[in-house]
């Protein structure tokens, strides 16, 4: 029988093999999710370097504690995002005093309306996302940027789909409020 190409093997099979200590399966899983998890962590933390640390730690945990994933309990992708999110939350807790400083600096910059003039819309959006409460931020990142289905995003957050939709609506409302000034320059009136 011919071996299946690594890309066609399901995540569940990969995790089963990782549970038995198979490095090739681990390598395939890392290659498959590296970019997605990094994107999520980077947008969650607003720091690409810190996001790399988080992603590395996520995969180390998967390798060392693969037996904690139970088939049928959660999709492998859900489990991976849950680990990454928890690690991001840990990081944010540890750096809270610095984050408060950053927010203050960002507010000052906002008040000068300098971000748009320097065409730093992306930075402004990133700051606005950083200012959202963690659960709203995670909901937005998972659905809008990571493209998870609403049931999967709800599973990562441990919520119902209707609760997820409520979080998403609040997140977008918060973003609109924060970005209103920038939007006028870029796209005309947002609200």
């Amino acid at each position: 029988m011919q071996a299946k190409p690594a890309d066609s093997v399901s995540d569940e099979t990969l995790l089963n093999r990782i549970q038995e200590g198979e490095r090739a399966a681990f390598s395939t899983l890392v290659a498959r999710y590296l970019r997605d998890l990094h994107g999520f962590a980077q947008r969650h933390l607003g720091d690409p370097g810190e996001a790399e640390d988080v992603v590395q730690e996520t995969f180390i945990r998967v390798w060392q504690h693969a037996e904690r994933w139970q088939p049928g309990a959660a999709k492998p992708s859900t489990w991976l995002y849950q680990i990454t999110r928890n690690l991001c939350i840990d990081r944010l807790r540890r750096r809270r005093p610095q984050a408060a400083l950053d927010e203050q600096q960002a507010d000052e910059t906002h008040s000068q309306a300098a971000l748009m003039q320097r065409e730093q819309v992306g930075v402004a959006v990133q700051q606005a996302i950083q200012n959202l409460p963690e659960s709203q931020r995670s909901a937005l990142l998972l659905c809008h940027y990571q493209g998870l289905r609403n049931q999967d995003a709800a599973a990562v957050l441990g919520l119902s789909v209707s609760a997820l939709e409520s979080l998403l609506a609040r997140a977008r409302r918060g973003l609109r409020k924060q970005l209103q000034g920038q939007a006028e320059h870029l796209l005309g009136e947002v609200d």
């Binding site: 990782i18 549970q19 200590g21 490095r23 681990f26 390598s27 890392v30 290659a31 590296l34 970019r35 990094h38 994107g39 980077q42 947008r43 690409p48 996001a51 790399e52 992603v55 590395q56 995969f59 180390i60 390798w63 060392q64 504690h65 693969a66 037996e67 819309v121 992306g122 930075v123 959006v125 990133q126 996302i129 659905c143 809008h144 940027y145 493209g147 289905r149 609403n150 997820l164 939709e165 409520s166 998403l168 609506a169 977008r172 409302r173 973003l175 609109r176 970005l179 920038q182 939007a183 870029l186 796209l187 005309g188 947002v190 609200d191």
Partner: protein
């Protein structure tokens, strides 16, 4: 799958998922698209949400470093620990995750148990001092000799 959608549900959909149909839940997508063809109000609402979507699309995403994959594979060089290794690690964690009470408890528990057992066997209630027993025996012997 529903073929029609109310405007209020459409609003909910937009405020949660934005104006891009690709982000809408798949089971509701067809009905939402149909409503868009029928309702000018729905189209106006979608246009408004698309403005925010356009801003969100400006959020920068940096690619991970080219060596991140190699670093992860290098860091995961040890095989997953077996259950007894995990138990040992729980009792005796490394310095980075050291909860000091675990090794302390490892030593303190047998020590406390030994002390308790020692105290239990050493303190026999109402035990007569040894000299009293000896004196009684001597007295009995004396009586027997004198008889």
């Amino acid at each position: 799958m529903s073929t029609s959608m109310s405007l209020s549900r459409f609003k909910q959909l937009l405020t949660a998922y934005g104006g891009d149909p690709r982000h809408w839940p798949q089971p509701e997508r067809a009905a939402a698209r149909l409503l868009l063809t029928q309702s000018a109000q729905a189209r106006a609402l979608q246009a408004k949400e698309r403005q925010l979507d356009a801003l969100l699309a400006q959020h920068p995403q940096t690619e991970p470093s080219t060596d991140l994959f190699a670093r992860i594979m290098q860091a995961a060089v040890e095989p997953p620990p077996r259950w007894w290794q995990k138990l040992a690690a729980w009792w005796w964690p490394d310095e980075q995750t050291l909860p000091w009470w675990r090794p302390a408890l490892t030593f303190a528990l047998p020590l406390a148990l030994g002390l308790w057992l020692g105290l239990q066997t050493a303190s026999i209630p109402n035990a007569e001092p040894l000299w009293q027993s000896e004196a009684q025996l001597l007295a009995l012997n004396w009586e027997e000799v004198s008889e």
